[in-house]
């Protein structure tokens, strides 16, 4: 008996410990039997109304003011359901009693106290292909007695559009709640090349803004600058102060080709769509969205969902976005950069400049399949906002085998039999794609960890609207999910087991905004902890949360709470105890907070109007020749190099140009200006792409000559030397430099042979037309200004070299050469004092360092007397990226014996390497593989050995990259210890590095710039780089400087220090010149 007792105790304890964070509340306990039942018919189906499978919504809020959040569910076809919370996660269905009835096709639901009586009202959106009377949106006013009265028409909010969701907020800061209604078209337009449609207005498809005029709502959409065109496909809306000016702005997610909108509040009753001013790119088929401060910097970040599946099989089976030309066509017609994946836009601020960095891939949340609701919440109460995503689609109908083979066959069969094919009958046979919802834990370093299974959520479902609320009043966020053809999920959160602390905040507003909608609540605590939340009810997809914000606090036991009410008044409450609901009243608020003090900047950008120099990249497209390249090589440059070219004691600089444009020398006038110096010699060579350059006195006549590397990926890779006449006039000489035949990547001028004059290493980047075969790099030996090719074997085919630098690394008095590039390790060639100067026996490939390197700087960063290597890599904000033991690789061979190399990139997806190309892309390059992969299904599991025969694989060039992080190789007694930069610096390819002690504290600091626009149409441009100044706060410890004044928001390539200035070269954009202020 005793033994039995202990056994049971043990069992009980184990069960407690292994209980996941979330458990499903059984229907028997909750009594919530709601499900969104979808029954298709000949007239009611996805072909008749394309948003037929989008599912229903849910709103949580305390409808009867008993302190417990109640639930409202919308079903598309059935009546809405209202459940009153009776405590202990038990609910009572009061749908009939409440008189909340709705015919027609219901979509989103939100809650707000529209009539400002302190009781939450319910607003239900409707759409569908039915009658207008069944489509008008409904406002149910809470009669405070358990019943509601529909008063949409009385209030003027019975919009007849095809609505998805609505949000009540005070856009004009006049104290009452206005209304934005998110609508969608029910017609599909395919002629999206017609710009006229973007400016047209469609009263049923277009979004609408209603101003609250003393209790009656007036449609002010057109006057307020709201876009209402027939190609609006609104699926998500989020209100937040995106530009941090104290006025609420709006983000609108649009499905399909139409851009998302970022409406910036103009403070005069109007909005200005400003997407391009704040975001580099967006989701393509944008769905639900949400806002939260994910990195605890006191600024709201934005997430939009899309359709990218996480696993290889579904990525290969399902239709992705269209090809390169289609994408370019959209751009030409005024559409923005949109790619099919979830986007996480991180708010960054420098001075008064706000800009969003898209880091979804770095964060690890970019693919969650066909996704609907995004809900940020600190589910484990550890002080970081986690993420919940719902997904699933009733018919898996973007399957490409259906598109190309199965459907056409069915149609043909029907037609041959003389009948019209029953498309709906065919669609009905398609399988349902039930997938699991996703939970991600915020790791606190800009990345998330998928914990769906670990936290107990591992049920496949078609889940749409979702809301969080503290249903059992234990302080943590429970989750409520509206499912199609399956009972709703009530997930009970057991964060109390983790013993983390929390604080819930509720607001009592003055006047007509009784729940303080739009207020900003920030908690902060010792140790630099801070987190911002904005009070809004509409969240996620077609859903709403209660007007309460929950802060997870980890082990913190006291926090300061700062509230900024709409209009700007504020209150600061220090030392607030935790684990309770804090109710704050606006009547107690004081004046506005003092403006946040920014540290003084380090740099100031020169206005440059007009810009000093604009680099114009020519329109060449590498993918036309090599469709399977991981990215283009054509968009290199501009080269930059600095020297005093005219001997006046002032540093001047050279800027390279792309094909068709002349490179230029800029003379420093000593008064803060750079004057362009035309040069006939440079003008004569404008058919090359000047991608790298260096100054040196090559003929030892006392002035600085210029070496310019020709690159790109088109043709004409001959480098040029421009000889200085001592006054800054340059000319070429015949027969002084052997021809360079491969596209160049780098140049390093150093005394390789120790004879006192400068020799030249020219790194070559790519073999045009034969990626990734190593191009030939060159070592040119200087004999009185005449150069001969003395390239040792070990250097000539070092790899695809993009970067090089020289210094005496081992202290033997001889210069050593460091070289890195794409699919290359960082390689050190130790110099020898006799020809061939470099040899295999004196070469060191730094172990584990193969990467996609872009740039190198040698500098003794930690001041230990041993030169370190600072290296810029591709970064981790990409689909293609290596993990430990999981390299990105390329295999290349002539698969179809047509004389061209077929290069297939592979990378790991969920633990296994798969080829990067889609079946269409692969078959475009190697048509004969159609025989091996007759269907998408046949290709969906293919790996490299299925594409290459054993014989081909044996002969193939195989290269790997194990490391995409940028960072520093610290030198210590001949060994190199790589320490990656923090994640801020891994969000973009680092293309340029500049070191210096910018804060004059005796320690080297580092400036990083980069990005990559010339990517594949599928993966899209990487533009998260905004320019980073990393200050070395302690030896080898770097922190990003706040308000550095250095903005590198473009496709940055090169950085050069020019006297008291820093010059930044951007590909296909203007040069930026910064004054160094300290």
């Amino acid at each position: 008996m005793r033994q039995m007792f202990f056994f049971l105790l043990l069992l009980f304890t184990t069960a407690l410990q292994s209980q996941p964070l979330f458990t499903l509340v059984p229907v028997q306990q909750s009594n919530v039997r709601f499900q969104n039942t979808i029954t298709e018919s000949a007239t009611q189906n996805v072909l008749a109304y394309e948003y037929f499978y989008n599912g229903g919504g849910v709103a949580a809020g305390d409808l009867n003011n008993d302190g417990l959040p109640d639930l409202v569910f919308t079903a598309n076809l059935d009546q809405p359901k209202i459940y009153l919370n009776k405590g202990n996660l038990s609910f009572e269905d009061v749908s009939n009693k409440s008189k909340v009835r709705a015919s027609g096709w219901k979509t989103g639901v939100t809650i707000a106290d529209v009539n400002a009586d302190g009781w939450l009202d319910i607003y239900i959106c409707r759409s569908g292909n039915g009658e207008e009377a069944d489509r008008r949106n409904l406002l149910f006013i809470n009669l405070q007695n358990g019943t509601f009265k529909e008063m949409g028409a009385e209030y003027g909010v019975d919009d007849n559009g095809h609505s998805t969701q609505a949000v009540f907020f005070d856009y004009d800061n006049d104290g009452d709640l206005d209304l934005f209604v998110l609508n969608h078209s029910i017609k599909r337009y395919r002629n999206f090349d017609v710009a006229w449609m973007k400016s047209a207005r469609d009263s049923l498809a277009g979004d609408k803004l209603f101003r609250n005029d003393k209790g009656h709502f007036t449609n002010v959409s057109a006057d307020a600058g709201i876009i209402g065109n027939p190609i609006c496909f609104g699926l998500g809306v989020a209100v937040a102060d995106f530009n941090r000016d104290g006025w609420p702005d709006m983000y609108v997610s649009n499905d399909y080709d139409e851009d998302d909108y970022l409406y910036i509040n103009q403070h005069d009753g109007t909005f200005k769509e400003s997407l391009a001013s704040f975001l580099g790119h967006t989701s393509k088929f944008s769905m639900g969205c949400d806002v939260a401060d994910i990195n605890n910097d006191g600024m709201s970040d934005l997430l939009t969902l899309d359709m990218l599946p996480e696993d290889n099989k579904r990525q290969k089976l399902l239709k992705g976005p269209d090809g390169y030309d289609y994408f370019q066509m959209l751009l030409r017609n005024g559409y923005y950069y949109q790619y099919m994946r979830n986007m996480l836009h991180l708010c960054t601020q420098q001075g008064n400049k706000i800009s969003y960095s898209e880091i979804g891939q770095l964060a690890g949340i970019s693919g969650t399949d066909w996704s609907w609701s995004a809900l940020f919440g600190d589910y484990d109460l550890d002080g970081w906002q986690d993420l919940f995503v719902t997904n699933g689609y009733m018919r898996d109908y973007t399957n490409l085998d259906y598109l190309k083979y199965i459907l056409p066959d069915e149609m043909k069969k029907a037609r041959a039999a003389g009948t019209e094919p029953d498309l709906y009958g065919i669609v009905k046979k398609m399988p349902s794609s039930e997938v699991k919802n996703y939970l991600y834990r915020n790791k606190g370093d800009l990345t998330f960890e998928e914990v769906s299974r670990q936290w107990g959520m591992d049920i496949a479902s078609l889940s749409h609207g979702a809301a969080y609320a503290d249903l059992d009043n234990d302080g943590d966020l429970d989750l409520i999910v509206n499912n199609t053809n399956k009972p709703a999920f009530i997930w009970q959160n057991h964060a109390e087991d983790l013993k983390n602390n929390y604080l819930k905040v509720m607001l009592k507003g003055n006047g007509q905004n009784r729940f303080g909608i739009g207020a900003k609540i920030e908690v902060s605590a010792a140790g630099g902890f801070r987190q911002l939340q904005e009070m809004e009810t509409t969240h996620g997809f077609q859903s709403a949360t209660e007007p309460v914000v929950t802060f997870g606090l980890g082990k913190r036991t006291a926090v300061t709470v700062t509230v900024t009410w709409p209009g700007g008044n504020s209150q600061v409450l220090p030392a607030q105890p935790v684990n309770r609901l804090l109710i704050l009243e606006q009547t107690n608020a004081g004046g506005p907070l003092p403006a946040e003090k920014m540290p003084a900047p380090f740099f100031a950008e020169q206005a440059g109007n007009p810009p000093l120099f604009i680099h114009h990249e020519d329109a060449y497209n590498d993918f036309k020749r090599e469709p399977l390249l991981p990215h283009q090589f054509t968009a290199d440059g501009p080269a930059l190099a600095a020297a005093d070219v005219n001997g006046d004691g002032l540093t001047d600089f050279f800027a390279g140009a792309a094909k068709g444009q002349a490179a230029m020398i800029f003379l420093n006038d000593g008064k803060g200006h750079f004057l362009p110096q035309p040069s006939a010699a440079l003008e004569a060579n404008k058919s090359v792409e000047a991608v790298a350059a260096a100054f040196a006195d090559l003929d030892k006549d006392g002035d600085m000559d210029l070496y310019v590397v020709s690159g790109g990926n088109e043709a004409n890779f001959t480098d040029h030397i421009y000889w200085n006449d001592g006054k800054g006039n340059f000319s070429e000489r015949d027969n002084v430099l052997p021809s360079t035949l491969f596209s160049g990547g780098s140049v390093t001028i150093f005394d390789a042979d120790g004879d006192g004059d400068p020799d030249i290493f020219r790194g070559s980047e790519v073999t045009t037309g034969s990626y990734p075969l190593a191009p030939r790099s060159y070592l040119f030996q200087n004999t009185h200004g005449v150069f001969t090719d003395v390239t040792p074997e070990v250097l000539s085919h070092a790899g695809m070299v993009t970067a090089s630098a020289a210094a005496d690394l081992n202290g033997d008095g001889i210069k050593d050469l460091v070289v890195a590039g794409e699919f290359m390790p960082v390689t050190i060639f130790f110099g020898q004092n006799a020809a061939p100067w470099f040899a295999l026996t004196a070469m060191k490939k730094i172990p584990g360092s193969s990467g996609w390197w872009n740039c190198l700087v040698i500098d003794d960063v930690d001041g230990d007397g041993q030169p370190d290597i600072i290296a810029g890599n591709h970064g981790m904000n990409a689909q293609l990226r290596p993990g430990p033991g999981q390299p990105v690789s390329v295999d290349a061979a002539d698969l179809d014996n047509n004389g061209t190399i077929d290069a297939i990139i592979s990378y790991y997806i969920k633990g296994k390497p798969y080829p990067m190309p889609s079946r269409d892309e692969l078959l475009d390059q190697v048509p004969s593989l159609k025989t091996r992969f007759p269907t998408y299904e046949a290709y969906a599991a293919a790996t490299i050995p299925d594409i290459f025969t054993p014989a081909q694989l044996q002969q193939a060039t195989h290269l790997e990259a194990e490391q995409f992080h940028s960072g520093i190789f610290y030198s210590s007694k001949g060994a190199y210890n790589f320490i990656p930069f923090d994640n801020e610096a891994q969000a973009f390819p680092v293309r340029a590095i500049l070191t210096g002690d910018f804060n004059r504290d005796g320690k080297e600091d580092i400036i990083l710039a980069g990005n990559s626009y010339a990517e594949r149409a599928q993966s899209g441009r990487i533009d998260a780089g905004k320019g980073l100044l990393l200050l070395q706060s302690a030896v080898r410890k770097f922190v990003p400087a706040e308000n550095s004044g250095f903005f590198a928001l473009k496709d940055a390539r090169k950085l050069v220090r020019v006297g008291n200035f820093i010059v930044l070269g951007n590909n296909n954009d203007s040069l930026q010149v910064f004054s160094v202020l300290r």
Partner: protein, 425 residues
């Protein structure tokens, strides 16, 4: 027992031989449709496969001579051993099977379809030694044709860059709904069959963009679109011949596959063969010669298409007149001038007319499997002229491209029939 006898008799009859050849042709067409083979690649597949069939079986009729010496680069092929007996249907079928199979992508689908043909063939009572000898001969003919095909520059073309649309007024731009890349910009680098060069048949340049004539032609396309009669719409759909048209309903996208323009004319050739109850070798002569005309017509047409790089009606009308304008048919992805269907239809019609005469009335049911009702014509050129003008009805070509396309096709057809003589009188 009776059934078996009947079958045997049928199989042994001349029309049964011809039927087997028609089945082979149909299988090739079906597999190419499944694989979404472009009209140009299809014309190449047809040509080599049908020449192989003809050459394999040709010795079965002493009135027919070889293509060797009559087509560019084709020297004499393998000869049957004198004094030995052959079954020429078996030889031709073997030559066709091996050649066609080498060209199609879905070899499994081709083999599946071939099983029925092979079964029919196996039922024929031929001594096994003769069967083996004939099959071996057919295979050697296939090897000869395949070796010849390898020198036509096709595999080199596969390695060239994809087409980049050039900006500028009046130039071709990708067209809705899918804005696909223009296909086969280097098709003029392919070795023609009888033409001395891809540009041997010159036609005038189209009207300058925005010229009075150009604007008039735009207005005509728009006006035809607005006043389209049911018969015109039927004709447009009948000659649509788009191997891959896409339809989109929300996120649901699907395709409608039809026989290519060349495949349609191979179908008409089969109708003529059937109506005339042609024996095997003359039937194969018809198929192969029509395919030769198609092949050269596409090369000559593509040469002009990518030299003129001319804008499509949908692009110009949207730019100049009505931004919401849509064509009846989906515009195929390549430049406008001249109309490919006009060139290849008239070239095929000339060849068929040379063989079967001018007043050859027929009902064309080639589009029935694709849901379009049959249409009747008084002659091959009557059908070709309708195929040509149907591109105006469909809103995908201007009149000039149709008229000069027809002229070009006529000349190419004439050159083919002049330069190739198969029948020994």
């Amino acid at each position: 027992m009776l059934v078996v006898v009947c079958l045997t008799q049928q199989v042994r009859g001349q029309s049964a031989d011809t039927r087997l050849a028609a089945q082979g042709l149909q299988l090739l067409t079906d597999v190419m449709i499944n694989d979404i083979t472009s009209p140009l690649v299809a014309s190449r597949d047809y040509t080599y496969a049908m020449i192989a069939y003809y050459e394999g079986a040709r010795n079965g009729d002493t009135h027919y001579r070889s293509y060797a010496g009559q087509l560019n680069g084709l020297s004499a092929g393998p000869q049957p051993v004198k004094g030995m007996a052959y079954d020429w249907l078996t030889a031709g079928t073997a030559a066709f099977y091996k050649t066609a199979r080498a060209f199609v992508f879905s070899k499994d689908k081709f083999d599946q379809g071939w099983a029925a043909i092979a079964a029919t063939s196996a039922k024929r009572k031929i001594p096994s030694a003769i069967r083996a000898r004939s099959e071996a001969y057919g295979a050697s003919v296939a090897d000869w044709i395949l070796a010849w095909s390898k020198e036509d520059n096709y595999s080199h073309i596969r390695t060239l860059p994809r087409f980049t649309p050039t900006p500028g007024p009046g130039t071709w731009q990708p067209t809705p709904p899918d804005y696909m890349e223009a296909i086969e910009p280097y098709w003029n680098q392919l070795r023609p069959m009888v033409l001395k060069s891809p540009g041997e048949v010159p036609i005038p340049l189209p009207a300058p963009f925005k010229s009075a004539q150009f604007l008039a032609e735009c207005r005509e396309v728009d006006s035809v679109r607005r006043h389209l009669t049911p018969d015109q719409e039927w004709a447009a759909n009948f000659w649509d011949c788009n191997p891959f048209a896409t339809r989109t309903v929300g996120h649901l996208m699907y395709s409608i596959k039809k026989v290519s323009p060349g495949g349609h004319w191979m179908g008409i050739a089969a109708i003529a063969v059937k109506m005339k109850n042609q024996p095997l070798v003359p039937a194969l002569a018809t198929y192969s010669l029509v395919s030769v005309a198609l092949y050269d017509a596409f090369i000559a047409c593509w040469d002009v298409k990518f030299k003129t790089n001319y804008i499509r009606p949908v692009t110009s009308i949207q730019q100049l007149m009505d931004p919401s304008w849509e064509a009846v048919l989906q515009t195929p992805p390549f430049p406008e001038y001249p109309s490919g269907h006009s060139v290849i239809s008239m070239a095929s019609a000339v060849v068929l007319t040379t063989i079967y005469g001018d007043h050859f009335a027929f009902t064309d049911n080639s589009e029935k499997p694709y849901g379009v009702k049959s249409r009747s014509y008084s002659s091959f050129s009557d059908a070709a002229r309708e195929a040509a003008i149907s591109r105006l009805y469909g809103g995908i070509h201007f009149r000039e491209a149709i008229e000069y396309g027809t002229v070009m096709g006529k000349t190419i057809g004439d050159l083919v029939t002049e330069r190739v003589s198969l029948h020994i009188n």
